[in-house]
């Protein structure tokens, strides 16, 4: 790129031009003021010549032509260096002016990246910044270390009205305060003078003037000119097309400007300026260059002069270093070189300028005149640039100048900025935008905030211009600039900078950055009163969960403050506080399915449906085959496009509100946004499709205006107020209840934050698989959120009274189911189904009349025995129908008893479905279902286990050992009653232990074993095969108490027992050798905090079913015979006869083989013994105390131990008679086998060395596998034989 055509090139050609000092009289100014201008302003538009075309020769007589040329005009009074404060003020004004213009931009949308990059380089940077740069450079004019600002010529202007105009010329030269530069001797006072006589045509004819002009010419020579102005008689617009106002004058009276200037006047001014520059200034400068060049050549050029110069300067080295270096007067050679170089620069002879600048820089450096040195370096750099020579050199020079200026402290600071500006422009002209940005940044570091801000802004534009555009740097520097603008009270600019940077920081994870930008922009907008935009930005920072508590508070406070100052309720779409978890959206509504409490809805639909299979009419569930079902589902899908809800009943929307902040926020008036199209207005299907796009556009409106359209009477909305603590999440249920039939549409939710801001959000339906309850088919939510409202229907409410949340296992209670019909319609045909009949069964109406638990007690006249039959019936059919007459009229209640029994410990969910039909048959819905769901926790209380073992003394009796363990932490139980179910068995207390257990209560953690006798009453085989539940009971508490027996065969207990039987064992078939026990206990008022008062369990029942006799053998037998024999062994051996009674407990016929042998096989004995003890060892407190041990003490003969007795291989007795008997035993029969032994010596004998083998013939296949065959060793039977000599 041609450096002359670059921005810097033109800038230099405009700014580094000859200066004309103007001296004028007050009358001159008066004449000019008629046009609203001063004299310089009058001339200024004509001081720039684009094609002056003046031939010039260089110092070496090289001819060239100057094309563009400019003269700078300045009043003598202005020719001085501006002081720092004035310059600051001036610059501030520039910025302030620009800010007025940007105000309109601030309301528009912030720029986007695409638009920004499309802009050309010049559009990018606001034009006022260029002006600012120029003004900044101008504030440094007329410094003494540079000469290009020193006046080249002096223009003396006197008005024709002045008295003695000739003398006035002299006067103004003398009286006017000449610039200090001239008086100080820095500048040559002998400047070229040009004399101008200004005539105001309104003051009279120009005759007099010609004489004055002639006189002037005589006095001052040919440099005299006449200029006539104000020829126009009235205000005209001749000068309108000329841009009069240069930057800096703030007169805005556009209509008055140049009003009296005729075209001739303007042309005269133009001609005068052309003449001045081409005929006087340029030749003068050219001539000056020649003279100076010759002087410099004489004194400085050539080897000799250089040596001399060097030596001379060395001598000056001792001179003390002043701040600005030595003062160079105009006559010094250094000044002359500088003037020469500057003049050469002005006339575009950059070669000459460069060589002189370089010559000069070494001198200044040696003199340590740093400011001068920096100035020269600066110009050297510019010369290099203009010559388009080595980039490195030019950059080096600029760098050098910049750092040197900075080195000399505050006086050089502004110069450094100017140097930096040129340098940056130079880099920009060469396309090194990144480096240019760096320079701007360096300048900004040295300058006060306002200048720094402008510099940083320019730096940011450089980053944008670099390729590829460095957007992040751009944004960062804009933010830095904005920050500085704000610090220097330039809010408009601050906002402009920040909002330009917004797009860089849009939508990424740099949270602190975007918070900072949005917060500040919002705040600043609020300062300048554009509140709506301020709020828009503040909204962005609301959900700042990553910020500290203090910052969050500040953000919120400022936000509320701004909104409050707006003075109206503000509605925000998608307000980010609180956050609404749209995924959590659940819609709960009731069509034919109604729910007792909201929590019931969360139970899965399939569970309910399986429960209700028998309950609902079969039409909806009946499917003949898979083909049929498919057709049905597709047709039904079309039919109920929208779900159905009932007028007067509410639709609940369940939503999660999350507060992301640590600050707690109050959210009030949360409600749904709904729409209800009444049935009459409901459009047909064709119309609906037409209205669809309309609704979309409607969605964009704020909800308030829509609320006003729809009359609020057609539905009611619930309004909720909540306070969300820091980080809290709350589920909120919002209701809408339509009042009339039609189409209800739920479109969104609205809320008020801190009573100030209204937020609203529409439900968006992007994902189709949103969780949705109460609906089987899942489809897009947009359909599901519009409901067809049908006519009001009866609705039952139900609750179970006194249902505890926690119960102990075994707890038996009477509960009340209360059905309430809210509506005015009556319902009929009420049916109920309960999911867990083990826990809950419906009772009878009579149960209500009696008190619990007295109603369970045994009646003296227990005549009604029909209940067991009922029980069995109900057990088969879990469906419970309320009596036919149980129609519930509108507004009435129905109470029905329910029996509750906590079967086993653990958590249990009870589901209850109640079906009812609408009495007044409406067309829309025939029936409804009420669903209830309760969760219970059943705590373990008493563990009861039974062990039944055959009694040795009687074949029909068994020992029952009951082990009870109290597993509660703090409760005490009293044991009341043990019942044996069924009439096959009878339970009896042990005769000697009517008060067997020492404690009647069982403390926490205590274990207890009790013994009972069980009598087999199965003498007669019950051919009916039906189990009756009469049973027999043992009262366990002492007789002193007047507690009554509980009748286990009565309704609730018997039914629960059936369910327990069903649950505890698979084989519910009446196996006759299986016993069921029911233990009834009461709680003895523990001190545990489990129950609230009044909820104490009154009665606990434990059902232990299918207890079998813990023997592996279907047989029980008993040896009968003498225990002690006195015999005289001297005469003969002794014979004894025994009878073995064998009883079969089995249901099948058994074939028995009895084998006796004289020596015991070891294996048999040990295995049998182990088996028996195995089962016994596990129970606490129960030890298998073998009788053998006792015998040992008694007996001196170790005959009972076959191992020990094997010393002599033969046992001391032998079995006589049959050694093996085989017989068949019918079920439940007893038989007797007689046995005989021979004894040879006195002693005690164990007659256990026989074996019973059995083989059962099963009645059916698959049962009693264990007992099919086996063998058992004989029971020990001790016979003592004493020698009794006759």
């Amino acid at each position: 790129m041609d450096p002359l055509r670059s921005y810097l090139g033109t800038l230099l050609q405009e700014e580094i031009t000859p200066v004309i000092m103007v001296l004028s009289t007050p009358l001159v100014e008066d004449a000019c003021q008629k046009n609203g201008l001063n004299f310089i302003e009058l001339l200024l538009p004509f001081s720039l010549f684009n094609k002056i075309n003046v031939p010039v020769r260089t110092a070496n007589d090289q001819p060239y032509r100057l094309q563009m040329f400019k003269l700078r005009l300045a009043y003598a009074s202005d020719i001085h260096l501006q002081n720092y404060e004035a310059a600051e003020e001036h610059l501030k004004k520039v910025v302030l002016d620009a800010s007025q213009k940007t105000l309109t931009d601030l309301i528009s949308e912030p720029p986007q990246l695409e638009n920004l990059l499309k802009n050309s380089e010049s559009d990018l940077c606001p034009s006022w910044i260029e002006t600012f740069n120029k003004e900044l450079i101008r504030t440094l004019s007329f410094s003494e270390h540079e000469t290009f600002d020193h006046p080249v010529a002096c223009l003396l202007v006197v008005s024709s009205k002045d008295e003695q105009p000739i003398n006035r010329f002299v006067d103004i030269l003398n009286t006017n305060q000449l610039p200090s530069l001239l008086s100080d001797g820095v500048m040559d006072p002998k400047v070229l003078k040009h004399y101008l006589l200004l005539h105001d045509n309104q003051d009279g004819s120009p005759e007099k003037i010609t004489s004055i002009l002639a006189e002037m010419r005589n006095t001052y020579g040919s440099n005299c000119k006449l200029l006539c102005i104000n020829s126009a008689q009235s205000a005209n617009g001749n000068g309108k097309d000329i841009q009069w106002m240069p930057y800096g004058s703030h007169v805005l009276r556009n209509d008055d400007i140049a009003c009296f200037l005729s075209t001739d006047d303007i042309n005269a001014v133009r001609d005068f300026m052309l003449d001045l520059s081409s005929n006087f200034v340029i030749p003068h400068v050219e001539q000056k260059i020649r003279i100076l060049n010759q002087q410099v050549a004489a004194t400085r050029k050539g080897f000799r002069n250089q040596i001399k110069n060097l030596w001379w300067r060395k001598g000056k080295e001792d001179t003390p270093e002043t701040a600005n270096g030595p003062i160079y007067t105009f006559s010094s050679i250094e000044s002359q070189i500088r003037v020469l170089a500057d003049y050469a620069f002005m006339l575009r002879d950059y070669e000459l300028a460069l060589s002189n600048y370089r010559l000069l820089s070494t001198d200044y450096k040696l003199d340590k005149a740093w400011k001068h040195y920096a100035g020269v370096q600066e110009m050297t750099g510019l010369c290099y640039f203009m010559l388009d020579q080595s980039r490195k050199d030019s950059e080096y020079c600029m760098e050098n100048a910049f750092t040197t200026y900075l080195k000399i402290g505050s006086s050089g600071q502004r110069n450094a900025s100017r140097c930096g500006l040129w340098w940056a422009e130079m880099l920009k002209a060469r396309g090194q935008f990144k480096d240019a940005a760096n320079i701007y940044f360096r300048i900004s570091n040295e300058e006060p905030s306002l200048l720094a801000a402008v510099m940083l802004e320019q730096a940011s534009y450089c980053y944008l211009l670099s390729s590829p555009p460095m957007l992040r740097k751009y944004g960062f520097h804009l933010v830095l600039a904005g920050n500085r603008y704000y610090m220097s009270d330039q809010r408009h600019h601050a906002i402009r900078a920040y909002r330009n940077a917004l797009f860089v920081y849009k939508q990424n994870g740099w949270s602190y950055i975007s918070d900072h930008v949005h917060y500040n922009v919002g705040r600043w907008y609020s300062f300048i009163g554009i509140l709506d935009v301020a709020v828009k930005h503040m909204l962005e920072v609301l959900a700042c969960s990553h910020q500290s508590l203090a910052t969050q508070n500040m953000f919120l406070d400022d936000f509320f403050h701004i909104v409050q100052s707006m003075g109206k309720k503000f509605e925000v779409y998608k307000l980010r506080l609180p956050v609404i978890n749209m995924a959590s959206l659940k819609v709960l509504y009731e069509d034919f399915r109604t729910y007792a409490s909201p929590s019931d809805v969360h139970v899965s639909e399939s569970l309910w449906q399986s429960l209700e299979e028998e309950l609902v009419p079969s039409a909806s569930t009946g499917r003949s085959n898979w083909l049929d079902s498919q057709i049905k589902s597709s047709s039904s899908k079309r039919n109920d496009e929208s779900p159905v809800c009932v007028a007067g009943e509410s639709v609940v929307v369940d939503l999660e509100f999350i507060n992301p902040l640590q600050v707690s926020i109050s959210v009030s008036e949360i409600s749904l946004i709904c729409e209800l199209l009444a049935k009459s207005k409901e459009p047909d299907t064709g119309g609906a499709s037409h209205t669809a796009p309309e609704e979309d556009s409607e969605l964009k409106d704020s909800p308030s205006c829509r609320d006003s359209n729809s009359d609020g009477s057609s539905f009611t909305l619930s309004k909720l107020d909540v306070v969300l603590g820091g980080g809290e999440t709350k589920r909120i249920q919002l209701e809408v209840s339509p009042k009339i039939e039609g189409l209800l549409k739920i479109s969104g939710v609205r809320w008020t934050l801190s009573d100030i801001v209204v937020g609203y959000q529409y439900f968006e339906f992007d994902s189709k698989n949103k969780e949705k309850k109460g609906r089987r088919a899942r489809r897009s939510l947009s359909h599901n959120l519009s409901f067809i409202v049908i006519k009001g229907l009866p609705k039952l409410d139900a609750c179970i009274q006194h249902l505890p949340k926690k119960v102990f296992a075994g707890d038996l209670r009477l509960l009340l189911l209360e059905l309430h019909n809210q509506s005015e319609f009556s319902v009929k045909n009420v049916k109920m189904k309960i999911s867990h009949p083990r826990y809950l069964i419906p009772g009878n109406m009579e149960d209500l009349k009696m008190d619990f638990p007295e109603c369970l007690e045994k009646q003296k006249s227990s005549g009604s025995k029909e209940t067991p039959a009922n029980v069995m019936l109900k057990f088969k059919n879990l469906l419970f129908s309320f009596p036919d007459d149980a129609t519930i009229q509108g507004g009435t209640n129905l109470t029905w008893p329910l029996w509750f029994h906590a079967g086993c410990s653990g958590r249990i969910s009870l589901y209850i479905s109640i079906y009812y039909e609408v009495a007044s048959c409406s067309s829309d819905m025939k029936y409804r279902i009420l669903r209830m769901h309760h969760d219970l926790e059943v705590l373990p209380s008493l563990d009861v286990s039974f062990q039944i073992s055959p009694c040795a003394s009687s074949l029909e009796e068994y020992f029952v050992r009951m082990d009870i363990l109290n597993r509660t932490k703090s409760e005490t139980f009293s044991l009341n009653q043990l019942s044996c179910v069924g009439n096959l068995w009878e339970i009896l207390a042990l005769p000697e232990s009517l008060s067997i257990h020492p404690v009647q209560t069982l403390l926490a953690g205590q274990a207890l074993s009790c013994f009972f006798k069980l009598k087999d009453c199965r003498k007669v085989i019950n051919t009916e095969g039906e189990l009756t539940l009469q049973g027999s009971d043992v009262l366990m508490i002492s007789h002193g108490c007047k507690e009554a027996m509980i009748d286990v065969s009565r309704s609730p207990l018997a039914e629960f027992h059936q369910h327990e039987r069903f649950h505890q064992g698979k084989s519910a078939k009446g196996d006759s050798s299986i016993v069921d026990f029911i233990l009834i206990s009461k709680m003895q008022g523990g001190n545990g905090p489990v129950f609230e008062p009044g909820m104490q369990p009154k009665l606990l029942s434990y059902h232990s079913c299918h207890c079998s006799i813990s023997s592996r053998c279907p047989l029980s037998w008993q040896m009968n015979g003498p225990r002690m024999i006195n015999h005289d062994f001297s005469s003969s051996f002794c014979e004894a006869i025994f009878h073995l009674r064998i009883h079969s407990c089995s249901d099948a016929a058994v074939i028995i083989r009895l084998t006796t042998y004289d020596t015991l096989p070891e294996k048999n004995q040990s295995s049998d013994g182990v088996k028996l003890s195995d089962s016994a060892e596990n129970e606490g407190g129960w030890h298998d105390i073998s009788l053998v041990n006792d015998m040992k003490v008694l007996s001196s003969i170790p005959g009972n131990r076959p191992k020990k007795s094997s010393v002599d291989t033969l046992s001391p007795f032998v079995w006589c008679a049959t050694s093996s008997t085989k017989l068949k035993l019918e079920p439940l029969c007893t038989t007797e086998i007689s046995l005989k032994i021979c004894l040879f010596a006195p002693g005690t004998y164990d007659l256990s060395n026989y074996e019973l083998h059995w083989e059962a013939k099963p009645l059916e296949e698959g049962i009693a596998d264990v007992w099919s065959s086996g063998s058992a060793h004989g029971h020990p039977f001790h016979l003592t034989v004493l020698h009794a000599p006759r």
Binding site: G475, I513, D515
Partner: protein
Amino acid sequence: MANTACFIIVSRNDIPIYEAEVGSAIKKEEAAQQHQFILHAALDIVEDLAWTTSAMFLKAVDKFNDLVVSVYVTAGHTRFMLLHDSRNEDGIKSFFQEVQELYIKILLNPLYLPGSRITSSHFDTKVRALARKYL
């Protein structure tokens, strides 16, 4: 240990996925945003530099006043950026290398979606320990 040090991991989508102030200086409210600004702006420089060298450790790429930005670019173009005021280049290099090992372990987690925020507290404590060790 450095007075100011802000460590940040930037995913290939230029989104910060892990941030930690690991300096010993008392944390100021404004520092957090300033650090983010500097690091965010430095991404532009990294973009230029990353393709000019085969080394992963780019050394100090940018500076703002007395704060220096050192960057380490992984093969997946995830950038580890450290804003610091100390000049311990070797330490920083070791720090980056060890952090990369930790980062790879995070990546190996099948439940971690690359480019998402690293929330592992284990990773956080390890990084802070490394910062104490090397910086």
